[in-house]
Amino acid sequence: MDQEAPERRPIRTLSSGGHHASLGGVGTNGAPVPTHVTVHLGPAGALPWSIHTAWRVVHVGQSAVVLSGPGDGSDDLFVVTTGARGLVPGGASLPVRADFDALRALARRDGTLDLTGWDAATAVHPVDLRLGTVAVDRRAVDAMLAGLAMDETAGVLMDPRPLRALAPALAHAVLAFDDAASAGVAAQLIGAGPGATPAGDDVVVGVAAGLLACGAVDAAATLRAAVRPLLERTARASRHDLRAALAGEFSEHAHLLVGALRHPGLVAAALRRARAWGATSGFDLAAGVAWSTAAASGTRGGAGAGASPEPVPSHARERRCA
């Protein structure tokens, strides 16, 4: 996370999603070979599907197939998503729906999958999911906070908003390099709330993204120190996302939200999309992003729901956002 992040490559544009021709063939191992794969490369540039020859099927959803490495409770996850769902760290995304459906059908039949044949995919598009600094427009931050304040989650079961309200406290604590306070707030968030990736975890991932977007790498290091000891207190899918976030890598969802902070005109569409990410994950993530960039940039910060604590002393604050 301390390393300098390169300029991020385009994630997905209108011309790169869903316009490819036909379903690929069948590999020598029987698994369908997709035509196009967007992939986040593993360590040393490894293609994630080649890391194991027998991926265990953890979950088969409408837009994601979650696979894990051998062994009960393996933390080695490989998440294959549709193009619409977007790429996640250490995962692959199949922009052609038929390719995803073919995988989905196979995952239903077998307890394990050998995807090494994917090396023969027609085209593999590597994507760098590291997050670099962004020219944040304070008006966009305020627009995102305003949009979040209008969330209609009120009254639903397991309301995630009390967890979102902890985002400013966490952001201010890490920006003040207050290790004790950071650890205390993180402990309230990690593993807390509804969802397969608990809402509190999504908030933390959002805070990490916001800090990096603002170039607050030292505060991000404080966050990392606070969160690492708590990782075993959450579910493995969430642990996977948190580990990636602490390493500076984020899902396409997070990139889209952070990218929307460049201009207030981009925020409404980004929040509309975020609303569709999981039951509450998109807004949980957005809360983390918005409150951390607000705190780092000195914008509205304490206004509205989830009011922030005392302002961060200026000498302790990294203010990298414009």
Partner: protein, 497 residues
């Protein structure tokens, strides 16, 4: 927080992963059960156990791991609580495999489907076309009506299978059938419609959607929408399934009026069909897109909009279409309208309207086979059309882009956003080149559709798109923008006849 007049039951599913939408929906459903006080469905992390513990929703001695799924129910008595938990477990619909894999059980063949539920009456077939005839025949021989979404089925197979179906009194909707609503159950692309008196028999999916959605705006619901496949009124197929569908809706007590929607059939088929409609015993509208309007024993209309106006009038519920005159002062622009459509019959209707007004136009049906081979239909994946719209910004001969947006079951969850983004790109490109470019759209949908009719319209309007009431009115507006005959008023509701 333990209440003396309630009981708590808890079930732990070790290392079971379910996505958050599933968990929330499950909890919400259980919460609605009579006698259930509160529900928790969460990952069993220490933080969540603490949260649940504070509200008395977990016993103190519970042993779990963070990867376990925990469902906890507090209810008025043990039977209620246990029943709620059993329902939750069923809701997860899983078969636990030795590896811990969770797999949803779904039948893969007609036989498996019937074995799983002998009460089923319809099979939906969407296998690749080359395999579809075998599956359709299996379903028909098993006594099932068939909704056949598959295309690329030969005409010979279609005729043979429709004869087989008709002999058994079964509907074969398709092949290449996109839309049906049978006894209130939507199949394929369909909208959320209220029950009502109009039956629609359609050789056109989006044609049926446009007519039914316009009727919905007039407060007129549908009894049935029976798709018959785009070739049913061809000479080769001869309206085999249209005949059977008309027999059925004629006998249907809920149906008071009938609309048939199709591209213009072969002349001899059309003549026979109009004779059949005239003796149906119920008032009927024949919508043959591109045909001249006629008011005989059967009302004939050449546009979807015209058919909806006529059908609404038959039921005494006039349909009003908002008049939208074009701006008084228009910047000069290229004279051509480019139609980029996801709905085939909507594209046909636009061609008809633009042609009648003398507008220079090129209308492309992006749902046609040549654009969809090996990729999703653009109503499912809007990115294909968005690319075409964005690219239109570079066309110096195009002054107006005309588009449809089809909502409802099966369509993309948010088709407007990628379209709006593409519109911005197209307009930016045109503006950079010093050209004016307008985008005109209509949204086919109802207020009940999950995408949100008004929300989708608003996304388009926010992007500067002119959003009209109907596809036909959008085409008229587009024609006016390029200087073809300008509409000054919208079509008026037809008189009750």
């Amino acid at each position: 927080m333990n209440s003396p007049d309630s009981v708590l039951v808890v079930r732990v599913f070790p290392r079971l992963y379910r996505d958050s939408v599933t968990l929330m929906a499950l909890a919400s459903e259980i919460q609605k059960r009579d006698g259930v006080r509160s529900v928790g469905a969460m990952m069993a992390t220490p933080a969540n156990l603490e949260i649940l513990g504070r509200s008395g929703m977990v016993p103190e001695d519970l042993t779990t791991a963070p990867d376990d799924l925990l469902i906890t129910v507090r209810a008025v008595d043990p039977p209620t609580a246990e029943a709620a938990l059993a329902s939750a477990e069923e809701g997860l619909t899983v078969v636990e495999q030795a590896s811990g894999t969770a797999e949803r059980v779904r039948p893969a063949t007609v036989s498996e489907g019937l074995a799983a539920d002998p009460a089923v009456t319809i099979a939906a077939v969407s296998t690749p076309g080359v395999h579809a005839p075998v599956v359709v025949e299996q379903a028909l021989r098993a006594g099932l009506h068939v909704f056949c979404f598959s295309d690329n089925v030969s005409v010979d197979d279609e005729v043979r299978l429709k004869d087989l179906a008709a002999d058994r009194g079964l509907l074969l909707m398709g092949p290449d059938c996109g839309t049906a609503v049978v006894d209130g159950v939507p199949l394929g692309f369909a909208n959320v419609l209220s029950a009502g008196p109009v039956a629609i028999v359609a050789a056109s999916g989006t044609g049926a959607q446009e007519v039914s959605c316009l009727l919905d705006r007039a407060g007129v619901g549908v009894s049935q929408i029976v798709g018959v496949g785009g070739r049913d009124l061809s000479v080769e197929v001869g309206g085999r399934m249209t005949d059977l569908a008309l027999d059925m809706v004629a006998a249907d007590e809920a149906t008071r009026a009938v609309v048939v929607v199709s591209k213009p059939p072969a002349a001899e088929v059309a003549e026979r069909l109009l004779d059949r409609l005239a003796t149906l015993g119920k008032p009927a509208v024949a919508c043959f897109v591109g045909h001249d309007d006629a008011d005989g024993p059967v009302v004939v209309r050449g546009t979807l909009e015209g058919a909806a106006l006529a059908a609404a009038a038959l039921l005494g519920r006039p349909l009003r279409i908002e008049a939208t005159p074009p701006p008084a002062a228009l910047p000069p622009r290229a004279p051509r309208v480019l139609g980029l459509y996801t709905g085939g019959t909507l594209a046909s209707e636009a061609k008809v309207v633009l042609g009648r007004l003398g507008a220079s136009a090129e209308v492309i049906d992006l749902g046609a086979d040549e654009y969809t081979t090996g990729r999703p239909h653009p109503m499912i994946d809007p990115s294909t059309r968005a690319e075409h719209v964005a690219a239109a910004g570079a066309r110096v001969d195009v002054g107006v882009v005309l588009v449809d947006l089809v909502l409802g079951y099966g369509s993309s969850d948010d088709p407007a956003t990628p379209l709006a983004e593409a519109v911005a790109a197209a307009r930016d490109a045109a503006a950079a080149d010093g050209r004016a470019l307008d985008i005109v759209a209509s949204v086919c949908g109802t207020a009940g559709d999950h995408q949100g009719l008004q929300a989708q319209r608003e996304i388009l309007r926010s992007a500067g798109v002119h959003v009209l009431d109907t596809n036909a009115s959008a085409a008229r507006y587009a024609a006016a923008l390029v200087g073809a005959t300008a509409p000054t008023t919208a079509p008026t509701p037809e008189e009750h006849s």
